[in-house]
């Protein structure tokens, strides 16, 4: 029996077993510390805050655009049926493509015959730009848009191609271009996020990672606004008594502040969370004001097709009108995803090309033209760049009998406003619209050009992460100067 008041010296074994947890904690702390520093998060956040609103501008260069509206045509629009007419397809309709040119492996390996476009093309405007009858309304804006017929992607499959188009990398996890733009320029409106995705009903394959901040501070990721009466969850305050919400938020802010002090070195998530709370609070007043179209005239609503008999046109029209309202409020980057039309899987018509493309085109054509015209009337097209593109194109030959497979070797896109010329075609594909023959434009080139128009040198917009500087354009990208006004 050992009297408890007599202190005996602690044994070596006892000492180790008692302190094991403590040693572990010390080691863990060290590991956390080094993680934070080697990931460069801390440094990156400081750089981001110092950078926001300047520092990466091109000297001697006057930016043209302040906002980007990215009209994402999810699934891949067929170029030979939209903006790249190929009369030869009609001449050789039904012939074997392999007898004409080398056919690459396709996604579904179900190569059919050469398939002519079911739609005719018409020349529009003073420029005589050729647009298919799928897009009569966009055709009426021909003199304001520049079509690039020589786009190429690196990926023949949706998810990778989506990541590539949105983040400049085919793999998941990199910051989206909208996050980069806000990191580079900062927001113009303290009451709204700088990067907004208007969800028309379809989140593209690859999911929300297309719109994330990646290694950039969390505050730069997209905020997603749904269509319908409640665009953001909990956007209407639930506390009925005035002041209660303020008190709750103040309490949260105090808690967060003390937590932030105690975790020196790894505070990006906490700081971002604090900012998100603050922004969310301000959005409770700014969002309802934004999403009510009471102030819009009937003529304006009609312009966007809000009176259409097609519910998908009305849906997309509301998204387009919302995009204009966001531009007016200083939001930097707005992406519109596609509506879910009846019986189609996005623009991804592996079969039933005619019905599928027509349903999708009908949903977006009038709203997009309305957006361009409305922006122009209000002087907003001067500093708003509108970008219309899918993630890749489609084959000029059939998949099966009435579809088209993926084609990353050539696709068409267009841009309008924000310092690009109008009524112009850039680049050329071969006689089948299968491969690019002249002036290929890569996704990196597209990103470089978009940043250039915003006044940002894509080579200077970097973020230090994991031991090296990253760019949206990686080590690639050339500005397509020929399309600049």
């Amino acid at each position: 029996m050992h009297p408890s008041h007599v202190r005996r010296p602690i044994s070596r074994r006892e000492m180790l077993s008692r302190c094991a947890c403590g040693f572990g904690s010390i080691a863990l702390m060290g590991m956390f510390g080094s993680l934070a520093s080697c990931s460069g998060r801390r440094k990156g956040l400081e750089a981001a805050l110092a950078n926001a609103g300047g520092g990466i501008m091109l000297p001697g260069h006057i930016p043209k655009a302040k906002h980007i509206i990215f009209l994402y045509m999810d699934g891949g629009v067929s170029q030979v049926d939209s903006f790249d007419p190929k009369p030869r397809l009609a001449l050789e309709n039904g012939e074997d493509p392999a007898s004409k040119f080398k056919v690459d492996a396709t996604q579904f390996n179900n190569v059919g015959k050469i398939l002519q476009s079911p739609w005719s093309f018409q020349r529009y405007g003073e420029s005589g730009l050729e647009v298919s009858e799928l897009f009569p309304h966009i055709g009426s804006c021909a003199d304001d848009i520049t079509v690039i017929r020589s786009m190429v992607s690196n990926f023949p499959e949706h998810t990778n191609a989506n990541y590539f188009l949105h983040t400049g990398s085919g793999l998941q996890g990199r910051p989206s271009m909208g996050a980069w733009v806000n990191y580079g320029l900062g927001s113009e409106n303290a009451n709204l996020p700088g990067y907004v995705v208007l969800d028309g009903g379809l989140i593209p394959p690859g999911g929300l990672d297309n719109f994330k901040n990646g290694f950039l501070p969390a505050g730069f990721q997209a905020s997603i606004l749904r269509s319908g009466p409640v665009p953001v969850a909990n956007i209407r305050p639930i506390d009925s008594i005035a002041g209660i919400q303020d008190d709750k938020l103040a309490y949260l802010a105090r808690q967060d502040a003390s937590l932030l002090q105690s975790v020196e070195g790894a505070g990006d998530e906490i700081e971002s969370a604090i900012r998100n709370y603050e922004l969310a609070y301000r959005m409770q007043s700014s969002i309802p004001e934004l999403t009510e179209f009471k102030a819009e005239s009937e003529a304006t609503k009609k312009l966007y097709g809000l009176d259409s008999t097609d519910p998908h046109t009305r849906n997309y029209g509301a998204q387009c009108l919302m995009a204009r309202r966001l531009v007016e409020r200083g939001v930097r980057f707005i992406e519109l995803t596609c509506p879910q039309t009846n019986g189609t899987d996005r623009w991804d018509q592996h079969g039933n090309l005619k019905a599928g493309h027509e349903a999708n085109a009908h949903a977006v054509d009038q709203p997009i033209a309305g957006l361009l015209k409305d922006l122009k009337l209000r002087g907003l097209l001067e500093d708003t760049l509108v970008v219309w593109t899918g993630e890749f194109g489609r084959t000029p030959f059939a998949q099966g009998t009435d579809g088209r497979d993926h084609n990353p070797s050539a696709f068409s896109m267009w841009m309008a406003g924000g310092g690009v010329r109008g009524g112009m075609v850039y680049g050329r594909t071969d006689e089948y619209g299968y491969r690019v023959e002249e002036n290929p434009v890569t996704v990196h080139d597209l990103h470089a050009t978009m940043l250039h128009l915003l006044g940002i040198d894509h080579k200077q917009l970097t973020f230090h992460f994991g031991g090296r500087d990253f760019r949206l354009t990686d080590v690639h990208g050339n500005v397509v100067h020929d399309i600049l006004a």
Binding site: G55, I62, E188, R329, G330, R378, G379, E382
Partner: protein, 442 residues
């Protein structure tokens, strides 16, 4: 002349730098020996002078071969040839003297005289060679005092330009005159004025007015760049596509010594090429200079609810936006009026009286006053905005009366007046070249 001579002759421009460097080195060592006799031995000097002499002889030999393969004017070529041979001989004599290693006052004086003359001859020969290759105007004081072509005044408009004086001659000057001038005249071709350009060189008539494809000058510059007869030769910067187009169009239109563009109006494509060449589309904002706004001023702007953003890291230009609907205090803008180029004040309840604060912001290039209850009285105060290129007053109360005044703003290029009490006929009447008025859905 067989190719092997031409081949070795072309080593001349490489080899000549050896004697220049080595003789200078030898002279420096000689001077050092004056002050520290034990630091440099006669053997060292003898060795370096011998190699100098050998390289000078080699240079002279290759130079002799090089001279025959090229079209230099005989006079300046002769001077360079004989001074080169002289230098080879003189440096050999110096080398021999050092090899004999004689001392004594006479010997010393002889050496000093010979070394000094060698140095003089070296400079003279080098200068002659440089003038042959690059032309005598290549490196001169006038480079510092005279205006270079880049800073030469550009024509203010297409209509005020002369095709030959403002476009063709400057192109020839930058791309061709290095070799086709009075002292060099390669291929017997001079391009210094209109008459000699037409005359051409050894290969025949220079130009056939009206027929670019038959014109030797144009044929040479438009060959594939790896063609043997391509000009400019030897990897010098070729003509740009625009420069080639200008040259072609000039010949097509008659290749006259004076072609005012007002009388020979270019088609839309040529107009674009010339606009680029004359840099007429250069944004005038780039020429605006100002000190960056102070942090205090920016802070004052922010405190008043404005968002201020520097447009470019190199410039002080400010882009200021007011995004609220409560009427702002505009007087604070005066603090940054030197830097303020873009100003957005949409839909914030501004009235005619508030335009007083805008009237003084004469550095503005873009102004957005849309959806404010402003009328003609307010607009009348904007008369002094001489730099203003874009004015957005859609959704205001401005009427037909203001159109004349607005169209008279000297720099105005775009005017947005949709949703104002203004009718189409007045708009049509107010439109002038260079001004686009956006007033209705097309």
């Amino acid at each position: 002349m067989t190719d092997i001579y031409i081949y070795f002759g072309r080593f001349h421009p490489l080899l000549v730098h050896l004697p220049i460097g080595m003789i200078c080195g030898a002279i420096l060592l000689g001077i050092w020996k004056r002050f520290k006799p034990e630091a440099v031995s006669y053997q060292t000097l003898a060795l370096i002078w011998t190699t100098s002499a050998a390289s000078a002889i080699l240079s002279a030999l290759t130079g002799y071969l090089h001279a025959n393969g090229n079209d230099y004017t005989k006079e300046s070529l002769d001077i360079h040839k004989w001074s080169g041979i002289g230098l080879a001989v003189l440096s050999s004599v110096v080398a021999v003297i050092y090899l004999f290693e004689r001392s004594g006052l006479w010997m010393h004086r002889l050496r000093t005289t010979l070394v000094t003359s060698t140095f003089g001859l070296l400079i003279y020969t080098g200068h002659g060679g440089g003038s042959l290759t690059h032309g005598s105007e290549y490196l001169s004081i006038s480079t510092l005092t005279e205006e270079t072509p880049e800073t030469m005044p550009r024509p203010a408009s297409i209509e005020s330009a002369d095709l030959f004086t403002h476009a063709v001659m400057p192109i020839l000057q930058t791309k061709c005159l290095g070799c086709h001038n009075a002292s060099k005249k390669k291929g017997g071709l001079l391009l210094t004025d209109h008459a000699v350009i037409l005359r051409g060189g050894k290969s025949g008539v220079g130009l056939v007015p009206g027929d670019p494809s038959a014109s030797e000058l144009f044929r040479r510059v438009s060959l594939p760049s790896d063609h043997k007869e391509f000009m400019p030769t030897d990897g010098k910067a070729p003509l740009t596509d625009d420069q080639r187009d200008i040259l072609e169009w000039w010949i097509e239109k008659g290749a006259l010594a004076s072609m005012p563009l007002a009388k020979t109006p270019p088609d839309p494509r040529m107009r674009e090429v010339l606009t680029n060449y004359f840099q007429l589309n250069r944004d005038p904002m780039l020429d605006m200079k100002a000190e960056p706004a102070s942090e205090d001023d920016l802070e004052a702007l922010r405190a008043a609810g404005f968002q201020a953003r520097r447009i470019s890291s190199s410039g002080a230009w400010l882009d200021v936006t007011y995004a609220d609907s409560v009427k702002p205090d505009l007087s604070v803008l005066e603090r940054v009026h030197e830097q303020l180029v873009w100003l957005q004040l949409p839909n914030c309840g501004l009235t005619d009286e508030d335009m007083e604060d805008i009237a003084g912001l004469d550095k503005l290039f873009r102004l957005n006053l849309s959806q404010n209850p402003i009328g003609d009285q307010g607009i009348a105060q904007l008369e002094g905005l001489k730099n203003l290129e874009q004015l957005n007053i859609y959704g205001t109360r401005v009427t037909n009366k203001s159109l004349g005044l607005l169209a008279a703003l000297p720099s105005l290029k775009k005017l947005f007046i949709w949703d104002c009490p203004i009718d189409s006929t007045s708009v049509v009447a107010a439109v002038r070249p260079g001004l686009e008025i956006i007033h209705q859905v097309r």
